[in-house]
Point group: C2
Chain length 649, copies 2
């Protein structure tokens, strides 16, 4: 007999945990729920299955409450129901207002799993959702299956008012405090020393009293400054994390790059939770654009499809679609593009099929925003983000058209995969690209301008980078863009690792490794030089000391552990090690290493459940793969990579 | 300064309380949530207001958690925020996963009320909803504002195993039990003596132990049989109710009719709660068709618009519309018709406007069900209820077309009221009526048949009654229907007071009071003769003793306190006292009494915030109204009714 799992309505698990995630933020003592709509699981679900069993029993367990019909006779939950040998129809209704309704079948002759069908007392029946973590009656799906490890401060500093605890590096979890008196303690969390001790400006703090032992809320921190604590106060942290295996790795002759890779990996790990978080201190929200880049990083580090799916489903929420993801136009489009990339990485057609109704709803919603020129333009409440740079955002913005065009191309691919007809997304992509060139290509500047509405003809890197990333520029345009934009110091530099990730992707894609490595030295490298134990949300090398921590008009507003800073993981895996799929799910893939300025490197990339190891030394490449389907491309040669057989070129 | 109220998103209050209501049912020890989709309030809402104040302070209180921006500076809830004299922009975000997010402003210079605007972080801002009950920080809107009164059994009967407590009549509330030991007690609830004591078949029971004092869940009962109780066990009930004023009344020379009126009034009162319940024992759910009739009864008894609105909003739930109300086709249509009748009764155009998006969604959903003949036909999952009678329900059913046609006529009126153009519902009604006559009018039988698909040409009363109720039959058809259907004993009799209410409405409308009074004697009268203290869900005079309590294949499955039994309230008010609106909200109304077989009667009808008193004695009618706008029609004469001036004819 198979195993029993808790089962629920597709989407409810992700929506439930995102509901909690997106309403958990606190700042300056205030609760600060997300400013986009928060979705809820269905209150009541119905779960059916036709089974044929031996003689035995079953007990229906509910996360929530409800009943089960066995052959149309109703039974309460938690009672032992005898089953005769033969065919039976099981039909349960579970309700859980405010929670996550789910069913678990305890039985010696049948199970609860994905072979059940489920609806919400309306809608089509679809296969019940489940998750391998929730495989016993006690492991309920409303508790997210994190792991825990108790860790201790590596340093304590007694001050006049209390004690500053230093955990040595950025971390995350529940602070445990044992204190001899029940007097008030004030806990100030800091990703930096300054943030923890500048208590008038600390972003996250709490005041506690009345007990001798406390387990506080989960927080991000390196430092905890506890006013009221003394030498005898005991402090530890239950580090909360997903126990990922680091499948990707990278070592090379440049120690700084290795350190960047490892710091990026740790930064990223901390942010991989219910979904891809942006950063673990401030919002701890899931932002679709950030998540898009995180999914690419994940491909080269953990290769975990589950977190990508959770993120996609939790973000999408429920119909009707009433606003862009996180309210941001570009983030809806990146969500769509990301779903195609997900399919290419993991080859999971079933998931693509399940989420297609939401894809359809979001692109329809987006198309309803097309203006009279047929261009995508925000209306009130829509946020044209692109990046924290000065971009001319008047009227329809070029970068959004680039993303829409890219999304159309991916939608066409998705329709082909799922054999859906009639959308003609390829034609839409073509027509839009024609408009983009007409409205935004400035021959004089040799670049795409931000917007034509204002008449300013302002050029930033962003739309031009998207054009190169998604193959929307001709060869001539491409050369012109490098010349006039990317290699042009007069065009404002990118300040966020988010867009820097895209810029480096494009530099690597077109072989400009020198520029890329400059950025690794001067941007990521400089952060590490300043003592960063994780990568920051934004970095401006011209600033000094605690100035670095300022953002959003708040002295410590910046996140010092931001997932979008981990882009180098992707760069090293995708371009140096050079591994990428050529058919969905890495059924076939290329290994096309590029050495850039390195003389020696070695690393692994997770591929289709296996691992590819790539070594470069003395101008020679050696590849070892645990799966079939690879092709090594190096030095103008192309040879197949057979599983478990080392190959060199 | 105005009063402050708790404020929330329109719909959330009703949806929250209906969510609880529709998942609270228990039966035979099992939780039994409703089998239609249950909706949830929005998790997070945003509330804005521009104010101009004197110098003072404000404190934002949350039902849930969140923050308030005052002039774009963020503050936590529960802190005193100073306000300078002048203009301010207040903007709060409140979150409450699983609950009802709401805001209350405590201030010496400003308030929270319907002048705030609200959305759910998406959607248009609309005026915040509030309710006069929730006018202080302690009165939170997630506690429904019922009143309570402790009542005691009027009789106790010691048995070998325990004690049977009789509260003398049907009632509802929390049972309080004080018992000297902590041993197990088993509580069996009965609307009848038999139900409480036939413990193997009792529908609702609970087993309790471990305490000396209990306050149990709210239940309906007349009898509580407590196994394990003894002479010293103390039992009382916290009767839970809405403290309605009985504005309608009726007395006459036939004592039985008075008793029927008063029993109906009590039955109805017990069922008027968060919304119009069907019955207080079994499901305690809100069914749209039952609620339609309840709204008509309410018009003549409590004239409370709030419960009608709560019912309409709570039933409608949230977009997208995925199934018929309560899954029943006819119930969606009666909900629409009922909204027009609500407007005629209370003249509340603003509410009609607020709920119009849901009206629009439900009629569109319904029109998507039209078959190739343009007739309304259920698809899988749709329930063609009409009534618990043997109706030929193959293919498109006549009664549903009648209701759709009536709904189109009301929709046309609603569009006129709200000045909405383009739907041409009048044309749709006309076209559908043409089809109804073509497909369903059987000239030979002189009646509308149930269905034409089966070829059986079966005639029941139902579709024919709807034709007469909603003026869809010609004069000739009307006469033929009375002859061939309503006065034809070969056509199966109606067995539910639900449809009996409609039949009597039609009899009275066309002046057949003798038949109507026969029914009062033989149906309602007979129930009272059998000791009913409230009106039953269904009644078949040919049954004996406890057979009466059987329904739905369950020995005590029948509800003995069913709102749809209270139809006589409407009949007496609408036809005997003869009061009905001729302009929305009784701005003008007729008083057109009919004596039927009575020689003397007297009663009151609530009208537009006032009362009309009608007396009939010695063939003379005397009317007294506390509001203007009336016209007395009697004995072929028509005279205006002036407020506070008695008039006789």
């Amino acid at each position: 007999m198979n195993k029993s799992y808790w089962i629920w309505h597709f989407g409810d698990y992700e929506i439930y945990h995102f509901m909690k995630l997106h309403s958990r933020r606190q700042e300056f003592g205030a609760d600060y729920p997300a400013f986009w709509p928060t979705f809820t699981p269905y209150v009541t679900i119905k779960l059916n299955k036709h089974v044929e069993t031996n003689e035995g029993y079953l007990i229906a367990r509910a996360n929530g409450f409800g009943y089960i019909h066995v052959d149309n006779v109703r039974y309460p939950t938690d009672v032992k129901i005898p089953l005769s040998a033969g065919k039976h129809f099981l039909s349960a209704v579970i309700s859980n207002p405010g929670g996550l309704p789910a069913l678990y079948i305890e039985s010696d002759v049948c199970t609860s799993d994905g072979s059940w069908e489920c609806n919400h007392n309306a809608g089509k029946f679809t296969p019940a959702a489940f998750n391998k973590h929730f495989d016993s009656v006690d492991k309920k799906p409303d508790i997210f299956p994190f792991s825990y490890k108790e860790i201790f401060p590596v340093n304590k500093l007694k001050t006049k008012d209390g004690v500053l605890y230093d955990f040595g590096k950025e971390t995350f979890g529940y602070l445990n405090i044992k204190h001899q008196s029940k007097e008030k303690l004030s806990v100030y969390y800091g990703e930096s020393y300054e943030e923890a001790t500048d208590t008038k400006n600390t972003l996250i703090f709490e005041h506690i009293e009345g007990k001798n032992e406390y387990k506080l809320r989960t927080r991000a921190l390196r430092y905890a400054y506890i006013i009221g604590a003394n030498e005898n106060t005991e402090v530890s942290l239950d580090y909360e994390y997903i126990p990922y295996e680091y499948k990707g790795s990278f070592k090379c002759n440049e120690p700084l790059f290795e350190k960047i890779y490892n710091t990026c990996a740790y930064t990223f790990h901390l942010n991989c939770r219910e979904g891809f978080l942006d950063g673990i201190k401030r919002d701890r929200w899931v932002w679709s654009g950030d998540a898009y880049q995180s999914a690419r990083i994940n491909t080269y580090l953990f290769a975990d499809p589950e977190i990508v799916k959770r993120t996609a489903v939790g973000l999408a929420g429920r119909l009707p679609v009433e606003c862009h993801l996180n309210t941001i136009i570009d983030y809806t489009l990146l969500w769509i593009i990301g779903l195609y990339e997900f399919y290419m990485t993991y080859g999971d057609k079933e998931f693509l099929n399940r989420i297609y109704p939401m894809i359809d709803a979001y692109i329809k919603f987006t198309e309803n925003r097309l203006n009279k020129d047929g261009l995508l333009e925000g209306i009130e409440g829509d946020w044209t983000f692109i990046d924290w740079s000065k971009i001319d955002k008047e009227g329809a913005v070029c970068a959004e058209q680039m993303l829409l065009c890219a999304a159309y191309k991916k939608l066409d691919e998705i329709d082909n995969i799922l054999e859906i007809k009639g959308h003609a997304y390829d034609k839409k992509a073509e027509a839009l690209l024609h408009k983009i060139n007409h409205y935004y290509w400035d021959a004089e500047k040799g670049a795409f301008i931000d917007s034509f509405t204002s008449g300013k003809k302002n050029v930033t890197r962003h739309a031009n980078i998207f054009a190169l990333m998604y193959d929307l520029a001709t060869q001539q345009q491409t050369e012109s863009i490098f010349q006039n934009v990317l290699f042009n110091d007069e065009i404002t530099k990118i300040t966020t690792p988010y867009f820097e990730g895209y810029e480096l992707d494009v530099l690597a894609k077109f072989g400009y490794f020198e520029k890329l490595e400059d950025m690794l030295y001067n941007y990521w490298g400089k952060m590490l030089e300043l003592g960063a134990t994780t990568i920051w949300e934004e970095f401006d090398p011209t600033k000094n000391d605690a100035e670095h921590y300022e953002m959003y008009n708040s002295r410590y507003g910046k996140s010092l552990c931001h997932a979008w800073g981990a882009g180098p993981i992707y760069l090293f895996g995708r371009y140096y090690l050079g591994v990428y799929p050529t058919k969905a799910g890495y059924q076939t893939f290329n290994v096309e290493p590029k050495c850039g300025g390195l003389t020696e490197f070695e690393g692994t990339v997770p591929v289709n459940g296996g691992i590819v190891t790539v070594k470069y030394k003395d101008n020679k490449v050696t590849v070892f793969s645990t799966v079939e389907g690879g092709t090594l491309i190096f030095g103008g040669k192309k040879v197949p990579v057979t599983a478990y057989k080392e190959i060199s070129l």
